[in-house]
């Protein structure tokens, strides 16, 4: 038996591997976060970074139920919203200094958000987690609309159109942070992003986390190893709600306002897209998705009005051609590079990339020319000093040639790969 004992330990990854694969990435991530303020970033940078932090936690929490739990929800923003609202109210209680709240630091409001989100998850999850699959998806849609519409009726909690706002510069100061200027809020966001990330990562390593994956893969079988899949789903759902609420609490402190729109289908759809584009089969996928999409949302929207169109194209392309998302692509490339024939792999990859790039150029020119044409303000798309109006033959030439060449090249590259 002693023999077996030795071997079974070898089955699990070694302590070194564990450190390399699990602890190290998180340490690096945290170190990056800590290093950022040293380079003296701009206001804009902070604004986006905060949004990213919030979205990372939100998207990860969504993936607890979609990726790890196999439940497609169209209403995850409800829990984000509940968490945010509860935190918002708590912020106001802190300001009023009423009772216990007088001594509660604003810094810890995300915990209140967690409680709010988890509570909402516990209430709403009770009826909805009895089902899975499409039924669950439809219930989540119905609940989302229901809560959103009801939010305009209960003004004392949701604040109607105007929402609830507050002031984060109250209560006990922690770590010498007044929480006023944006650069101080940064530490708050960074801290809770890491907490959320570590918390959700740890969750995947617990029995419940594993059971959640088992229930996703095969709910029927879970019954026959002694677990009630409904209960597994329910518990996971509460946690996902809690972490969404945590993100909501972060948002409450960051924006100091919550409106019912935070619970509408739009943010619910956005978090779905973030998680899916990032890659729902990987823990880190949603992080990629959150970073990319937040960036697109805030920066791309400055460059082009049609950024949502690009987002739609990106999403559909991912659904059709890369269902494992960005993370899948990244890890796929990584594997390819370490595969048997990296040289050939790189060649194929470059060819594909070139093809995609060409298609992208065609698409961008098409969209940008059209946008300006449709706006009718007589503006003209002028990349790299070119003058691409809608009456310019060159514009249409670029569009057609690049698109055709791109498609052809990509096809050729994939054929090549298959043959190999």
């Amino acid at each position: 038996m002693s023999d077996a004992t030795q071997t079974f330990q070898n089955l699990a990854p070694s302590a070194g591997a564990k450190f390399r694969q699990r602890t190290l990435p998180i340490l690096i991530f945290a170190a990056c976060l800590a290093a950022i303020p040293m380079v003296g970033p701009s206001r804009t940078f902070y604004t986006i970074a905060h949004q990213m932090g919030i979205n990372i936690v939100f998207a990860l929490s969504y993936n607890m139920i979609l990726g790890k739990g196999g439940l497609l929800s169209f209403g995850h923003a409800v829990y984000f919203g509940f968490g945010g609202y509860v935190a918002m109210h708590a912020m106001n209680w802190i300001e009023d200094g009423s009772g216990l709240w007088a001594g509660f630091p604003v810094f810890f409001l995300p915990l209140v958000g967690f409680a709010g989100g988890a509570l909402a998850g516990a209430i709403i999850g009770w009826p909805s987690c009895r089902k899975a699959g499409t039924t669950f998806a439809m219930i989540s849609l119905g609940v989302a609309e229901l809560v959103f519409a009801a939010a305009f009726m209960f003004d004392s909690f949701f604040g109607g159109e105007q929402g609830i706002s507050g002031d984060r510069m109250n209560g006990v100061e922690l770590f010498g942070l007044s929480m006023g200027p944006i650069s101080e809020v940064y530490w708050f966001i960074a801290f809770w992003t890491v907490v959320g990330l570590v918390g959700m990562w740890a969750f995947t390593r617990t029995p419940l986390g594993k059971l959640s994956e088992a229930t996703r893969d095969n709910a029927q079988r879970v019954q026959f190893i002694g677990y009630n899949p409904q209960r597994v789903r329910y518990l996971v759902f509460i946690f996902a709600g809690g972490f969404a609420g945590l993100a909501g609490g972060m948002a409450a402190v960051n924006y100091e306002i919550f409106t019912p729109d935070a619970m509408s289908l739009v943010p619910s759809g956005f978090v779905l897209i973030m998680a899916y584009v990032g890659g729902i089969t990987y823990f880190v996928g949603p992080i990629f998705g959150a970073i990319l999409l937040t960036y697109m949302q805030s920066m791309l929207s400055d460059f082009t009005e049609a950024w949502l169109l690009y987002l739609g194209v990106l999403f559909i392309a991912i659904v059709m051609f890369a269902p494992r998302g960005i993370a899948g692509i990244v890890f796929g490339i990584w594997d390819g590079l370490r595969g048997s024939n990296p040289g050939q792999y790189i060649a194929g990859l470059l060819m594909k990339l070139a093809g995609i790039l060409l298609m992208l150029i065609g698409l961008i020119v098409l969209v940008e020319v059209s946008v300006r044409w449709s706006n009718g303000y007589g503006e003209v798309y002028e990349p790299f000093g070119m003058h691409l109006g809608h009456q310019n033959v060159l514009s249409w030439l670029i569009i057609v040639v690049t698109a055709v060449a791109g498609v052809a090249l990509t096809r050729y590259a994939s054929k090549d790969k298959e043959a190999a």
């Binding site: 929402g163 100091e256 729109d261």
Partner: protein
């Protein structure tokens, strides 16, 4: 350098046209100012930020605007947004001394903003709801044939303020009038007002008072036309895009509006030229937001008086400033930063110089429809904190 102004308002969705109409007005005003040499030699740049009439989104856009270097915020579409902006601007200015920003509110008319919620950083360039409602109720007070009134409005601060003002002012001026309906509907979500119109018809009301604007105004009129309703509509924003054309001929003599000007008031040729230039540039819209010119002109006057385009000196110079504009004079009351100016009640008519919505109907001043600056003035409870 350039003076950056951020226009934070809806540029898409059901209230997009309201935002666009104002955005184009501010841009044209800025162009003219720049063409005349700018402000102390500096050029003005007005950039649009779409907020979808959502307060939270507005704060995101505000942040962006500040990051982009804007020191002046222009907003008007929606008091819910304005409330959030006032608060955010107050906080920003408290937390970032030296980087102050000013908020020029050109249309969000909830009275509280220049009363209990007043702020040094906020200036309002439109008459607030109590002022406008006073105009309407004075007019009703004279009309003995109106015995019952139906109130319909949007369910948010502004709509609530309108309803409250109507109730209290009518109770005072015409206690005999019965309020047969007081309905608030969701903001920008109703697509078919037919059931509401039918409720109005069955209530037998003699007049309807509404503060609706944007699509909510237009669709209300569309449903009224379809249901053949013939009650008069006393509105703040009958001038919203599409409202007049939705009613068509049926609107003549029925659709009223109280506003700071209409294009059919007497004016100089210069002003007529401006109206025509606007129409030429933006054929989808009509010259409606005269207050955009007022706001910009007052800004220029203040900045020139202060000799600086920095927010604090400009704000101080704005207090008590009076300008002459195309239709008379306007004064920024120092106490509460509420503009004071005459108001006009007009009604849809086919006998006008300028039609709206690209049809021949337009707004014509009603008899005794001019409300002087003095009678439009309302007291304020504002206690303002001013920086050193």
């Amino acid at each position: 350098d350039t003076i950056k102004m951020a226009f934070i308002d809806p540029l898409s969705g059901p209230f997009g046209p309201s935002g666009e109409a104002a955005y184009t007005s501010f841009q044209l005003a800025a162009e003219h100012i720049n063409a005349n040499g700018g402000v102390n030699g500096d050029m003005i740049e007005v950039t649009g930020y779409d907020n979808k009439v959502n307060p939270k989104e507005s704060l995101v856009q505000l942040q962006k605007a500040i990051d982009d270097g804007a020191r002046y915020i222009l907003q008007g579409n929606g008091s819910s947004v304005a409330a959030a902006l006032i608060e955010a601007v107050n906080k920003h200015n408290a937390r970032n001394p030296g980087e102050e920003i000013l908020f020029f509110n050109y249309a969000a008319v909830t009275p509280a903003f220049t009363n209990e919620l007043c702020s040094f950083w906020h200036f309002r360039f439109d008459a607030h709801a109590d002022m406008k409602m006073a105009g309407i109720t004075d007019w009703i007070a004279e009309r003995d044939d109106i015995k019952s009134v139906y109130l319909i409005g949007q369910d948010y601060v502004f709509g609530q303020a309108v309803a409250a003002a109507a109730e209290s002012q009518l109770a005072e001026k015409r206690p005999d009038i019965e309020i047969v309906g007081n309905e608030l509907h969701p903001l920008g979500k109703v697509k078919d007002f037919t059931p509401y119109i039918q409720k109005i018809i069955s209530s037998g009301a003699d007049a309807v008072i509404t503060g609706n604007w944007g699509a909510d105004m237009q669709l209300l009129m569309k449903a009224a036309a379809e249901s053949g309703s013939d009650v008069p509509y006393l509105t703040f924003y009958g001038g919203s895009k599409g409202a007049v054309s939705s009613l068509g001929e049926a609107g003549i003599g029925l659709l009223y509006q109280v506003s700071e000007v209409t294009t059919n008031l007497e004016a100089s040729d210069e002003q007529y030229a401006l109206i025509e230039e606007y129409k030429e540039r933006f054929p989808d819209y009509d010259y409606y937001y005269h207050r955009a010119w007022n706001a910009m002109d007052m800004f220029v006057a203040a900045a020139e008086a202060a000799g600086s385009a920095d927010p604090i000196p400009v704000a101080k110079a704005l207090e008590g400033l009076t300008i002459e504009h195309a239709y008379g004079s306007a004064t920024m009351r120092a106490e509460d930063h509420q503009i004071q100016q005459p108001l006009y009640i007009s009604v849809v008519s086919d006998d006008v110089k300028y039609g709206v919505d690209n049809i021949d109907l337009g707004w014509k001043l009603v008899d005794a429809g001019t409300i002087s600056m003095e009678s439009a003035e309302q007291p304020t409870t504002c206690e303002m904190e001013r920086p050193e």
